[in-house]
């Protein structure tokens, strides 16, 4: 099940600064709040942020826990990779655990490229520094002039364990500092490190996808993300990032042949992935090079086996790059599918013509009314997302 909120509980936005009495209200149900999540206003679904606030808005407030977001890659895999990095960076900032799988680049390289969060209210856990003795040479800048009696007390970061904000902003010109990144637990799956098993698989999936599914299930069981394990005091979310599934590097021939031999490998894998996610506290973002897949029916099947689906079409290298109509954008964004889980009606976005632009501090998605621009070149319609 995509985790309904009733079993997990709303995150406590306000905490009493201190308890003035010893009286503790007895709560009948054990509400466990997970940092970095919030309930959906539409159907009470537990949501996490994708790291891109405008994308969260398009998807109905965020990504529901237990669902898959499919990103159809743009031609050079630049912006889809960027969104994947935003997703993982958001996981680091919210103190979620990460699972990164890739066949092309080492997951460590992807993790090193994560954008730096803009740190107004993100607390960084610095290790508690040792109290300095007065005879040790001190940094002059740190020396207190007025409250010098408190100079020697240990410096303690009294900030919250994780930011209480939902969705953060990132500066793409800088990479995340290693100390922030290493605070989050990351699990890796790098396909060249997993030798192909000689035993035949038990289904239509090819070995690489089987190994990936098995590895993911092991991580879910071992780290306690399974919904069937008894509720302990602290639950966390596992963010799964799968890079470029369906490409030839995964030993899949979907993107190579018109009539692929393994035509059902990726769809079977996505079915298994959905099964895993619905029964655990995890969220997945999968990127697929759809521009290489010729069969539209197959792309339709892949889309339907994922819950959310967006497609990126970048202008780079196409004639639209120099087209003055599109000069303010980097590409078009199409929302292919929005799920309706645990409710009848889905929340499709109001507008279908969306364009994106990767700015330094924001990945913005705006309504692109270029078709109405016959009259004026200057007016643009911005939907404040």
């Amino acid at each position: 099940m995509a985790a309904p909120v009733s079993s997990v509980g709303k995150p406590s936005a306000e905490r009493p600064p201190f308890s003035s009495t010893s009286f503790q209200k007895k709560t009948r149900s054990k509400l466990i709040s997970i940092p970095g999540t919030r309930p959906s206003v539409q159907n009470g679904q537990l949501l996490v942020s994708t790291g891109v606030t405008s994308l969260d808005y398009l998807l109905g407030g965020g990504l529901a826990v237990g669902t898959v977001l499919l990103i159809e890659e743009d031609r050079f895999d630049s912006y889809s990779r960027m969104i994947l990095k935003y997703f993982l960076a958001e996981g680091v900032v919210c103190r979620h655990e990460l699972f990164v799988a890739s066949a092309q680049d080492n997951p460590d390289d992807i993790l090193q490229e994560l954008p730096a969060p803009i740190l107004d209210d993100v607390a960084i856990h610095k290790p508690v520094e040792q109290p300095r003795l007065s005879c040790e040479p001190q940094d002059n800048l740190d020396a207190m002039k007025i409250a010098w009696r408190y100079q020697n007390l240990p410096k303690v970061q009294s900030a919250l364990a994780s930011s209480s904000r939902f969705g953060h902003y990132y500066d793409v010109s800088k990479t995340m500092e290693p100390e922030i990144r290493q605070a989050a637990k990351c699990h890796r799956f790098y396909l060249p490190e997993h030798p192909t098993q000689s035993s035949t698989t038990h289904s239509r999936m090819i070995e690489s996808y089987s190994a990936l599914l098995k590895s993911l299930q092991e991580v879910i069981h071992r780290e306690g993300f399974d919904l069937s394990t008894p509720m302990s005091m602290s639950r966390n979310i596992l963010r799964v990032g799968l890079h470029s599934l369906g490409s030839a590097l995964w030993n899949d021939d979907l993107s190579c042949h018109d009539d692929p031999m393994h035509s059902h490998a990726l769809t079977t894998f996505l079915y298994g992935l959905r099964a895993l996610l619905r029964s655990s506290l995890s969220v997945a973002v999968v990127t697929v090079p759809s521009h290489l897949i010729q069969d539209q029916a197959l792309m339709g099947n892949i889309t339907r086996l994922c819950d959310n689906a967006i497609a990126l079409e970048s202008f780079k290298g196409s004639e639209r790059e120099t087209n003055p109509l599109y000069k303010d954008y980097h590409g078009l964004l199409h929302v292919r599918q929005v799920p309706h889980l645990n409710c009848l009606a889905s929340q499709l976005p109001d507008h279908k013509d969306l364009a994106f632009k990767l700015k330094r501090k924001q990945f913005s998605i705006e309504v692109c009314c270029q078709r109405l621009r016959a009259y004026s070149n200057k007016e643009q319609h911005y939907l404040n997302m």
Partner: protein, 274 residues
């Protein structure tokens, strides 16, 4: 259940046609809201329901049915509802483990060329009554088979021919033998003419199932484009077989899905327009 749809189909939980094969199909839209309607309808009609939930978890259907006024957990406990949770059962097959538990209904994942025989056997054992040996077992009405959805079987490697065989066997057992009903959901994408005549494809499956069924509800987006207030159109087609040959009657409605149901209206009479 949607009251407007009941009046369109001329059916109430107390009286509905038996032995019907209802095909719900969609093209580039989502007809699963109709499956929820039929699920709550037949549960209210006190039928014995076998539900093959292949694409979503049990709690998804349970949450929606709650809003429509039916409790799936209660129905399952009482024995009225037999629910195959495809996702959960598939994991033990896709990730091979030492002990295989659970029914073998999803065995086709191991080798899809084998066909859906195990799935059919699961259906048959679910819908046939137990023989009245136990005391206190409630007597339910005619059996109903609901499948959500059949197209995912194609995605998992099963051929369209095998799916048609499966539906034919189910129809023979459920509709003809036991005078029950079947509701299946088929999902297509793309334009109708795009299929290049290949053997396996959802178009071929749709045509085959349309031929087998007695009532189709085809859900599509509006031909004029995307609209927020009208979610699409439903074409209801009765294919009743009478003594004088086929009698086909078609009706077109537009619909809008809300939180607790769906409203159907004649084209052009949406409350957003009038």
């Amino acid at each position: 259940m949607f009251t407007e749809l009941n009046s369109i189909l001329n059916a109430t939980p107390d009286s509905f046609t038996q032995g019907e094969f209802i095909l719900v199909s969609d093209r580039q839209s989502d007809a699963s809201f109709l499956i929820h309607h039929f699920l709550s309808f037949y549960l209210r009609a006190r039928c014995k329901v076998c539900f093959l939930g292949l694409v979503q978890s049990f709690s998804h259907y349970s949450a929606i049915s709650q809003r429509l006024g039916v409790s799936l957990t209660q129905a399952r406990e009482k024995g009225q509802l037999i629910f195959l949770e495809g996702l959960k059962e598939s994991l033990s097959i896709l990730i091979p483990q030492e002990t295989t538990t659970g029914s073998q209904a999803m065995d086709f994942l191991r080798d899809p060329t084998v066909g859906l025989q195990r799935l059919y056997e699961f259906v048959r054992s679910s819908v046939s009554s137990d023989g009245g040996g136990e005391e206190g077992v409630e007597e339910w009405g005619p059996p109903v088979l609901l499948v959500d959805d059949v197209s995912v079987l194609l995605s998992l490697g099963v051929s369209a021919g095998a799916v048609l065989d499966f539906s034919h066997y189910c129809r023979a057992t459920v509709c003809s033998q036991l005078q029950g009903n079947i509701v299946m959901l088929v999902r297509c994408h793309g334009e109708e003419a795009e299929d290049d005549g290949s053997d396996e494809g959802s178009e071929w499956l749709l045509k085959g199932l349309t031929h087998q069924c007695s009532l189709t509800l085809h859900v599509q987006g509006l031909p004029t484009g995307y609209c927020r207030d009208i979610h699409g159109q439903v074409e209801v087609c009765w294919r009743r077989r009478r003594g004088d040959g086929q009698h086909t009657q078609k009706k077109l409605f537009q619909y809008k899905v809300h939180d607790k149901g769906a409203s159907f209206f004649a084209p052009g009479t949406s409350s957003a327009v009038l």
